[in-house]
Symmetry: C2
Subunit: 105 residues, 2 copies
């Protein structure tokens, strides 16, 4: 879980996920093409995404194909974000009440 959050923390990695979302199963080379950094830098980011299980890979000859795995993101949405979201209205009301005037109750 922590690895997923950390992986999502970097804009470059989120962009890579976006690229895979746009076209799944891309090679490292293809993903490097539009990135303004070295191939090795991109490879490191992809390795991190793979470690976080956000990306699955498969070798095809000398190429490495990358596939988006939406499951961990879904888990975040369901398990962690949902926790707050469920109580969103109540928490907002609580916040508002406390910020606007505590004496009133």
């Amino acid at each position: 879980m922590d690895a997923v959050f950390k992986a999502l923390a970097d804009p470059t990695r989120r962009r890579l996920l976006d690229r895979l979302f746009a076209g799944n199963g891309q090679t490292l080379g293809a993903l490097c093409a539009e990135a303004r950094m070295s191939r090795q830098a991109v490879a490191k980011h992809l390795a991190l995404l793979e470690a976080a299980n956000l990306v699955a890979t498969q070798r095809r000859g000398r190429e490495k194909l990358h596939f988006l795995n939406p499951v961990p993101i879904n888990e975040i949405a369901e398990r962690w974000i949902g926790k707050y979201e469920r109580h969103r209205v109540r928490a907002l009301a609580d916040l508002k009440k406390n910020l606007e005037g505590k004496s009133d109750g």
Copy 2:
């Protein structure tokens, strides 16, 4: 948006959000009580959460009260995670197809 992801990347900060979720409007001192680090370290984390708009604060005398703001988390869920989640089944099928055997089609 980036600030929110970065803020959520640290387990200590997620824990602080959990603490605020359990009891909203806590002071810095109260939040420090159960953390195994210095008050200043906690204060820094809270400042980051506040900068990311995940926490709102209010002064009461010499105390500083901290309130959970679930809105940015909700935005992530709706705007960014939803993008992947919506296509979850299709992406999974795609992934499976490509991993299990490409020759079959």
